[in-house]
Structures are given as structure tokens and as C-alpha cells.
């Protein structure tokens, strides 16, 4: 019994030290600091006039073929109210000469390591959980863009939805936001061009 009490005491001491160290490091670290009271997974209200389906809508862009309802084939069953693009549509936007001129923008919603390892060429990074680090740079390019295509890993990855919410909140038009749900997995599986490394600060143009 004495040993048991001692063990419990040890566990409590370790727990207390762990709590102090964890909160201390979290409060002082430059990147990866979690805001304890922020709900990172908050659902956004549907944009006015948006037609909500479990798989998004594509009713505003007649030049794009209607997206296939993502099923087990695409591995996605995400719930959101944004317009969705299939891999073919994303590839068409990528190959559109306007994209190179900055009319269309790709946004990578994955974390720093994943982005550095490889991303769609010229895609900007916007990691939802530290969005304040990226939003100014992203807004320089996304504001006024005709199509802002947001992607993450694909499958059940929700980060592209959260980044879409962030961009909507920052003032990007709902009509210009497109979710590429199949995301990075589909992009690489189809041997599309990949860029590695980090795109540094925006040049402001």
C-alpha cells in the first residue's frame, strides 16, 4: 500500500511537471504553437446562395464539366459547401495559360514538411492551423484571382476545407474557391509536375 501511494505520488509529480513543461514550451515556441481555446475544426456557415451537397457543387462554372460525385473511387466523402473540382479539372486549370499569369492560383493546405517535399508548381502554402503565418502572402495572390484551387492530401483530408473557410473569412469570394478533393495523392498518381522546396516571402507584385 505504501509502495502504491508512492507510485501514485510519482505519477502525479510527473504529470504536474509534464503539464508545466508542455504549456511553457507551447507558449514560447515560434512555430507549432497551439492556441488552447481556438476551435480549429469549427464548421463555417454556408455561404449565402450556395447549394449544399455532401460533395460540394459546381453550378457556377459552366465551362467546367460537372464534377463526379466523389465516392469510394476518389476516396472522399467530405462534407462542405464549396465547389469541387476533379483531378481532370484541376489539371485543366493548371494547364490553362492564365494560371501561369496568376489568374488562377493553387493553394497547398498541407504542413511545412509535406509542402517542402513537393507541391503543385507555383502553389502557395496555407496551413490552416497556423494560418496567420501564411494568410498575408496568400491574399496577395488569391485576392482577385479567378479561380483559387485548394488541395491537401486527398482522401479524407479536411484541411483544404478549413483553409477555404479561412480564405472566405479573409475576404476571398466564395465563387472563386474550388476544392480539389482528390488532392496531392491524385496529382502525384497521375505523374503531374511537382515542385519542391519552399516559396519564400511574396514579392508583393
Amino acid at each position: 500500500m505504501k509502495t502504491f501511494k508512492k507510485t501514485i505520488t510519482e505519477a502525479l509529480i510527473l504529470g504536474g511537471i509534464g503539464l508545466i513543461v508542455a504549456l511553457g514550451v507551447n507558449a514560447t515556441r515560434d512555430s507549432g504553437s497551439v492556441k488552447l481555446t481556438k476551435n480549429y475544426f469549427a464548421k463555417r456557415p454556408v455561404a449565402p446562395g450556395a447549394q449544399t451537397t455532401p460533395f460540394g457543387t459546381d453550378l457556377r462554372q459552366p465551362e467546367l464539366d460537372p464534377p463526379a460525385a466523389p465516392t469510394s473511387e476518389t476516396g472522399s466523402a467530405l462534407e462542405h459547401s464549396y465547389q469541387a473540382v476533379t483531378f481532370e479539372q484541376a489539371a485543366a486549370i493548371f494547364n490553362d495559360p492564365n494560371t501561369e499569369m496568376g489568374v488562377n492560383v493553387f493553394i497547398d493546405a498541407r504542413n511545412d514538411d509535406a509542402y517542402k517535399e513537393g507541391h503543385i508548381p507555383d502553389a502557395l502554402q496555407a496551413y490552416h492551423y497556423e494560418i496567420e503565418r501564411y494568410i498575408d502572402n496568400v491574399m496577395l495572390y488569391a485576392e482577385g484571382a479567378e479561380k483559387v484551387v485548394i488541395y491537401c492530401n486527398g482522401g479524407n483530408c479536411e484541411d483544404s476545407i478549413f483553409v477555404s473557410n479561412d480564405l472566405l473569412e479573409a475576404g476571398i469570394s466564395y465563387d472563386s474557391l474550388y476544392l480539389f478533393e482528390e488532392g496531392w495523392k491524385a496529382w502525384t498518381a497521375n505523374n503531374m509536375p511537382v515542385e519542391t522546396g519552399r516559396i519564400e516571402e511574396a514579392d508583393g507584385e
Binding site: T9, A11, I13, L14, G18, A22, L23, T37
Partner: protein
Amino acid sequence: MRQSLIQRFDGSTVPVPLIVRLFLGGYFISTGITKVQDPFAFMKGIRLYEMLPESPAFLLNGTAVVLPWLEILCGAALVLGLFRRGAGMLMALMLCVFTPAILLRALAIVQEEGISFFDVKFDCGCGTGPETTWVKLLKNTGLFLMATFMALSHYRRWSLAGLFVPAEPRPVYCDRCGKTVVVAIGDVCEACDAKAETPGPSPSAAT
């Protein structure tokens, strides 16, 4: 019976408790560091289990911040040999929560995707990347047994506690001489060589 098994390990000529202590400690430090490096990935991992509500947010966020450091701290405690039993107990508790959660998530995936349980593979947020679930469950069971052993073991050799904190006399079975002896410090078999066999626990026989 359990006491006897722990005593046998503690008194074994192969330093089983030391090996377990270093392995378990190193493992927890390694997985803890992975989680600390990307707390958001860990937070997303925890969220998938739907065990914590998203509101109030501090429950989920706080867990994602504190748990990895607790793992690192417990791991370091084992490696250093300080608060070993408390660290073992915390590790066992953590595994008691994680392992059934992984099992339930795997069963949910089986139901959702209609695949065999043995084909289920996902990133459990454990800091080890995507893993085949049944292998992960086996590993966790092994880790749980090791953590429980640490919580019960009295082996103090090569530990800071052994250097600085005087031990209390206890009866230990010595593998080498096949006797139960009452010892107060570290190596059981040294005590076995030095002292006569005692029939049972007796503080007076302690040195």
C-alpha cells in the same frame, strides 16, 4: 503469482528490468518527440477518435499539447531511472486509453469500408505513421505489459533513484542461487552471495 513473476524478473541474471526500462523509455521519448514536432497532426489524430468534444476547444487542444510532453517526460524518467514506477503507471494508463481507442477506430473503418480487420491500416496519431492495426494493437499490448512491469518492478540498478534514494528492504527471488532473499539495495544476487537464505520477508535481515 504476479508478485513472484516480477520478483523473478527483478532477480534474473539477465538485467530484464534494465532492458525494458531503456527500451520503453526510448520508445516513448521517440514517439513523444514526433508528436511535439507537429502538434497539429497529433491534434487531428486525436480528433479522429471522437473521444473528446471539439467544444470547449481546450480539451482537445490541451490534450494535444500536454500528452506528447508527458510521454517524453515518462520516457526520460525511465531512461534515467527516476520515478520509474510512477512513469510506468502513467504509461500503462495512457496505453489503456489509446489501445481500445485504436481498436474501436479500426472496427469503425471495417464497418465503413467493408474490408477485413487484418487489412485495416491507418495513422493512429501515435507518432509512428500509418500502421497495420492488428500489428499496432499487438505492439501496444506488449508496451502495456512492459509499462505495468515498470510500475511494479523494484529493480534499481543503473538508476538515479538507486544512487540517491535509499531502498526499503524487500524479499526478492534470485535466479542465480535460486533463493529468496531480503535485500535493501540494487543487485539481488550480490545480496544472495553475501547473506544467508531467509525463509520469507523479514526487515531484520535487510542490510
